[in-house]
Symmetry: C2
Subunit: 256 residues, 2 copies
């Protein structure tokens, strides 16, 4: 009986805080906390635990890989105290290293879950049309081949809709269901860059990088559209394109 | 007589090569070769000397400061041998570190001088409207003040034309004539950034950074346009704005 009441009191005082997070992935082993290695989650948890003077864990939306960047990663944590929800961003930024920034912090419903409530996600991929990039090394990927833009756009159209993307994810991906729906798969030029934009209900490990790699292989004539259709139909990784480097990938936005 | 002939032969075989150079200034003490410290010029001269197996010096157009970036720095050097002028870019890129890229190499007239033949230069300045930038740290400057865009544009208009810019350069600038002409002074928004663009017949040390700092001080209401007019009229450094950080500055293009 006492336990039940305690829980009620706890729920009453507890606030769930949502963080929107920007980071430069170059010097991280990825989002997820690791025993060894510098992770974005680990850095934020350290700062938060220091701020709140007790160990505090966060739940992130997407486990981005080493070298992948984010404009809008999302995480949540629970908190009891007097700090105003919107003040966490400033307080954490003063404790965080230069390559992580809390863009915003806000109170959300206690049932909100950064990982399980995701409706859709948008990723961008920046591909420079030169192999070497002195200015933006680590922030873009580069390719020296001449790419057929129209062919790449035809390839992107094949990805739209609901498909089994087994042929388009890391071989070790630990998932039971490979079906995902892609709502948006676009390509546009921006100065000397190709920018790919994907919005979907979910993306498996390496999936965006393989989707882009498949477009690139189609654009340079190494694969044709029939190969891509087969990769989608039979889940055949060998018929899809190569995995592009992490450096060009940005988690742009998460929709709830 | 022999000496004269030798010189003729030398001039006949000698080719002058022009390099267009991109670099990320974050890890350099600046363009200019230093006894200590990693300079862009020094790195290129090392690579070139290695390639040609003899000490080879280059003449650069602009001595950019530590932390300043370039899309289109220009340098020249003299060379006798069988390497095709356009192949120097690839050969040098394979020897240069990641943060320097030779964009192009070409043969120019033997009278061409990268430093003294400049007709005009364009600089860009990237100013983020947030103070902290996790993604583009070192590649932009950030400011948290709210800036009045129209006021900044009025300020930019004051810089157009021929003026004595004594109030707008580093106090230690070693120049005899402070007069410069500015042909273009623009401001545009790009996502979450203000981008300043200046084209002029020359810029003294820190000049672009002080021009931008003056706009910023006007934009936030710390200076007014009359102050700027006085700074231009009397060469009064105290009436001009602060020197902005090097991180936002890009040498965009040099015109000959």
């Amino acid at each position: 009986m006492l336990g039940f009441n305690r829980r009620k009191v706890y729920n009453f005082l507890m606030q769930r805080i949502k963080l929107v997070i920007e980071y430069n992935g170059q010097k991280f082993c990825g989002w997820q906390r690791q025993k060894l290695g510098r992770s974005v989650q680990g850095e934020i948890e350290s700062a938060l635990s220091k701020l709140l003077q007790q160990q505090t864990l966060i739940v992130g939306s997407s486990r981005t890989d080493a070298g992948v960047h984010a404009f809008g990663q999302v995480a949540h944590f629970d908190y009891e105290g007097n700090i105003k929800p919107e003040n966490f961003s400033k307080a954490l930024n003063s404790l965080l290293p230069d390559d992580i920034k809390i863009v915003s912090s806000s109170k959300v419903k206690n049932t909100f879950n950064a990982r399980f409530d995701v409706k859709k996600k948008t990723y961008l991929y920046y591909l420079s049309r030169c192999e070497k990039n002195a200015l933006f090394k680590g922030l873009v990927a580069g390719i020296s081949y001449i790419l057929d833009e129209n062919k790449m756009k035809e390839c992107l159209n094949l990805f739209l809709g609901r498909h089994n993307f087994k042929g388009f994810c890391a071989s070790g991906a630990q998932v039971e269901n490979f079906e995902r729906e892609i709502y948006e798969a676009k390509l546009f030029k921006k100065n000397n860059f190709f920018v790919f934009k994907f919005t979907g209900n979910g993306f498996m490990q390496h999936m965006v990088r393989i989707l882009v790699g498949t477009c690139v292989d189609v654009g340079r004539g190494k694969l044709n559209l029939e190969d891509v259709k087969e990769a989608l139909k039979f889940g055949d990784r060998a018929k899809a394109g190569k995995t592009m480097p992490a450096s060009g990938l940005y988690l742009k936005k998460i929709y709830y």
